[in-house]
């Protein structure tokens, strides 16, 4: 054979060994996966914990597998249980992760919900960092447990959820702060700031929190005034805003929102005029019994049956039969139950019982006026370069400068151009949006009454 060929032999050997080595390396890298270590660990634990020979035999039969929960309705494949193996085993309660037991899953079975619908992260991933979402190119890392209640709002109405108090609190802060005055949510709200429909999916909790404390810090040039609230309230607000994910879910999950809860019951309660005969929180009629403690006196079956036909369970009752449908009955029952649970005076305020000024105050809150004009029209919200002392004017003294009709016109038409203090600087960012077509006639009237009532008695205008 040609001698030139001989010098090729070492190359054959070298490259052959190199390729063999590389294939082995690739195979090792592919076979060595984090979740296998955790499963081995779990198997060992299981065998060690086995008390009887049968249990030991069961433990020994466990096989190394990628475990996954496939939820086609949520378009999810969650492989979290490949490492979190003891989710459903209460005997692992209090164990360190990943082998801890997951409490409270009786109403949210894993096979129907998976994991990432609430916790976020990357369900398909099988390494710790990738699965928890702390990797590049994954936008939804696991939700901080401090904010986990925001996930409830994907399927539930925040107001109907006694189990998620922070969510309800966040909603209150959201309404009190008047966010809706500038921002649109689910199609209603102002136009000065951006829409909030998907903001929870696009922003991190840290960003939101910073933003609420000082908007211009994270969004240079933002005209939004900082939100004045306690840290706990800002946290609750962050939690609530995180729930605006705009995630389309299938009917089964969203239907939770339409299942009548206490909120719907409260509305029915007001509409049907129950307050004419019954009292709540000391207000209302005296023909029927007070309802504050009704749920303590009777069980759920009794209350439902009572709504169906009062005489059937309460002989001699003079309460008329309303022919409620089953959904309405459920809503009203939930409402009565909630009265004993929440003992929350504002919650049971029904418009019919309120004065015009009180209703106006609710309207002020509903349309987010406080976002710019401050709580109770106190003003003080900065509006750089506005002629009015670089602030959005307060409303305490509108009664001195406007008649009722002028004030109504002003609310309906708004004011796009805000006079500048210094013509050379950019115009003031905040302006009064027109509310024509958005606010109802009755609401407008109530609001005007409320605004007129703000002037403190005996104080003089001092400007």
């Amino acid at each position: 054979m040609d001698s030139s060929l001989r010098k090729l032999y070492p190359w054959f050997t070298f490259l052959g060994l190199l390729i063999g080595g590389l294939v082995l390396a690739a195979f090792y890298k592919d076979q060595h996966r984090e979740w296998k270590d955790w499963q081995h660990q779990y198997f060992k634990d299981e065998i060690a914990r086995a008390a009887t020979p049968e249990q030991r035999a069961d433990a020994a039969r466990l096989t190394l597998d990628v475990r996954q929960i496939v939820v086609p309705e949520l378009d999810r494949v969650d492989r979290c249980t490949s490492c979190h193996l003891a989710m459903e085993d209460p005997s692992y309660a209090g164990y360190p992760q990943p082998l801890a037991y997951h409490p409270n899953h009786d109403r949210h079975p894993f096979n129907k919900f998976g994991c990432t619908i609430c916790h976020q992260g990357q369900g398909r991933a099988t390494t710790r960092d990738a699965a928890h979402g702390y990797v590049e190119h994954w936008d939804h890392p696991m939700l901080d447990m401090n904010y986990i209640q925001s996930a409830c709002a994907k399927c539930h109405l925040p107001s109907d959820l006694p189990g998620a108090p922070l969510l309800a609190r966040g909603r209150t802060v959201f309404e009190d702060s008047g966010c809706i005055g500038c921002h649109k949510l689910n199609g209603s709200g102002g136009v000065i700031g951006p829409e909030l429909d998907k903001v929870g999916a696009n922003r991190s909790p840290e960003w939101l929190l910073k933003h609420f404390k000082n908007p211009a810090l994270v969004t240079p040039g933002s005209a939004m005034p900082p939100i004045k609230a306690t840290d706990a309230d800002l946290n609750a607000l962050t939690l609530y805003v995180l729930s605006f994910t705009g995630e389309p879910l299938s009917a089964y999950y969203v239907s939770m929102k339409t299942i009548p809860g206490p909120q719907a019951g409260r509305r029915l309660f007001a509409e049907k005029g129950c307050i004419g005969c019954h009292s709540v929180g000391g207000k209302g009629g005296t023909v029927g019994p007070a309802l504050d403690e009704a749920a303590k006196r009777h069980d759920v079956q009794w209350i439902s049956a009572h709504f169906r036909n009062p005489v059937a369970v309460s002989p001699g009752s003079v309460m008329p039969q309303y022919n409620f449908n089953e959904q309405e009955i459920r809503a009203l029952t939930e409402f009565l139950l909630s009265l004993t649970e929440t003992n929350f005076v504002g919650f049971m305020r029904v418009p019919a019982l309120m004065t015009a000024v009180e209703r106006g105050k609710a309207t002020y809150r509903k349309y987010g006026c406080a976002g710019c004009h401050g709580p109770d029209g106190q003003g003080g919200v900065p509006n750089p370069n506005a002629k009015t002392a670089q602030q959005v004017p307060g409303l305490k003294f509108v009664s001195e400068g406007y008649t009722r009709d002028e004030l109504k016109k002003r609310i309906l038409d708004g004011q796009r151009e805000i006079p500048s203090m210094d013509a050379k600087r950019p115009p003031a960012p905040l302006y009064m949006p027109p509310w024509r077509g958005k606010i109802a006639e009755g609401e407008l009237s109530d609001l005007t009454d409320y605004l007129m009532s703000l002037t403190p008695k005996g104080e003089k205008v001092d400007f």
Binding site: M1, D2, S4, L5, L8, W11, F12, L15, G16, L18, I19, L22, V23, A25, A26, F27, K29, D30, V66, D75, V77, R79, Q122, R124, A125, T126, T127, A130, H137, W138, D139, P194, T219, S222
Partner: protein, 423 residues
């Protein structure tokens, strides 16, 4: 022991039916093996000594072929997992990474081999230019080569979309919009490629079918013709080889000095004709062994890349969130850079002229000078012109790849400018 087993097998009825010649032991058998084996018959029984020298071609064409073979092998395996639907494509990538045995390494191999193939086909083309291998009689093989270069780009570009991540989506959006700048037919062409006005489900299925069936078939055909022509045009270009006056298929008129089989007579200028036989060596084993070594080296490099570097995968495609800047695949970034100056010049004129010039090249520059010689002095003008164009393409590509930040503004690669946060 192994040797004995092999001999027993070879002499059995089955063995004889498979291997006509067997491992050749005499020169006659070495000649026979090249002619009678399907896989070896692309090459003549004997080749010029020069063909064995690495310096002659740097192995660039073969490396391109090997990369193509690696791509076919890994690509077919990937097809078992891939569903060309926008709902599944990205999830398939995640499954390959996280649960499919060797899925990630397969995808890495496919990705890196694809990038390498674009690179090596381009280098192979440069080699053919700088050694004047496109001069008669190899003009048309150069044209086929240009076709293969375009085919490689098309294969890589169509494959780019398939993972359906942000990188894929926006690269294809940018790439096809460059095609849209062509006058008159541009927008129609774009519509034809995408099956719509934007990248979506129909674009994905179109790119998939092109990527796994149409383009590979065309490429295989062209490669077969390309290789066949190399042989029929007298093997690798080398200085002093007899230049055929015309295509001549009549064996009787050829002064045959030496033949190894009927196939050697098919053409006037066979490597064997008019050449000192001492300069010729048997293809088996001299050439074949070297070719196998080169394949092993190519495979090793691809494996190293695939083991240590993962193929990129960004967020799932999101048509309302373009990255800033959105970039085409790297081999089109030179064009995108030009498009940034002028859509018409960068998107239409320059690429059109380049392809036309490449195709016309062997018919314009046809004086038989410097054939088979690297950077022949007699070809100063041609070499300078080509080098300037090549340099410009490289510089533009590098600028587009590394020096362009948000809004296509200039940036230094080691000091990237952060994209402005959107509100």
């Amino acid at each position: 022991m192994l040797n004995r087993l092999w001999k027993t097998f070879r002499s059995s009825q089955v063995g004889r039916s498979i291997f006509r010649v067997g491992l050749p032991e005499s020169n006659l058998e070495r000649a026979q093996v090249a002619v009678s084996s399907f896989f070896l018959h692309f090459q003549p029984a004997k080749v010029h000594r020069r063909s064995l020298k690495f310096r002659t071609t740097l192995g660039l064409g073969l490396i391109s072929l090997y990369l193509f073979l690696i791509l076919i092998a890994t690509g077919v395996l990937l097809m078992f997992y891939y569903v060309p639907a926008t709902d599944y494509a990205y999830q398939n990538m995640k499954d390959l990474e996280f649960v499919v045995t060797a899925g990630q390494v397969l995808r890495n191999m496919h990705r890196w081999a694809a990038h390498l193939m674009v690179l090596f086909v381009a280098l192979h083309m440069c080699r053919a230019f700088y050694t004047a291998a496109y001069k008669p009689p190899r003009q048309f093989n150069w044209v086929i080569g240009v076709g293969l270069f375009l085919m490689t780009l098309a294969l890589s570009f169509t494959g780019y979309l398939l993972p359906w991540d942000q990188l894929a989506f926006w690269a294809i959006t940018v790439g096809t919009s460059i095609a849209g700048y062509a006058p008159l037919i541009g927008q129609k062409l774009k519509f034809l490629f995408l099956g719509g006005h934007v990248v979506g489900e129909s674009a994905l299925i179109r790119f998939y079918v092109l990527h796994v069936i149409v383009l590979p078939l065309v490429a295989i055909m062209l490669i077969a013709v390309h290789l066949w022509r190399v042989r029929k045009d007298g093997g690798l270009a080398r200085p002093g080889a007899a230049q055929p006056a015309q295509e001549d298929f009549a064996p009787a008129q050829v002064p045959v000095t030496k033949t190894y089989g009927l196939m050697e007579l098919a053409r006037g200028a066979t490597p064997a004709v008019g050449v000192n036989p001492d300069e010729e060596v048997f293809t088996w084993p001299n050439l074949v062994f070297r070719e196998i070594l080169l394949f092993m080296a190519t495979l090793a490099v691809v494996l190293v890349l695939a083991i240590f570097w993962n193929a990129p995968l960004e967020q799932i495609a999101n048509p309302v969130h373009p990255p800033n800047p959105a970039k085409a695949p790297w081999y089109f970034l030179g064009l995108q850079e030009l498009v940034a100056y002028s859509a018409f010049w960068g998107g239409v004129v320059v690429p059109g002229l380049l392809v036309t010039a490449l195709i016309a090249l062997p018919y314009i520059d046809r004086k038989p000078r410097g054939i088979g010689i690297w950077f022949a002095k007699e070809r100063k003008v041609a070499i300078t012109l080509f080098s300037v164009c090549l340099g410009a393409a490289v510089v533009l590509t590098v600028i587009g790849t590394a020096f362009r930040g948000p809004n296509w503004s200039f940036q230094l690669p080691w000091k990237p400018v952060a994209a402005a946060v959107e509100h």
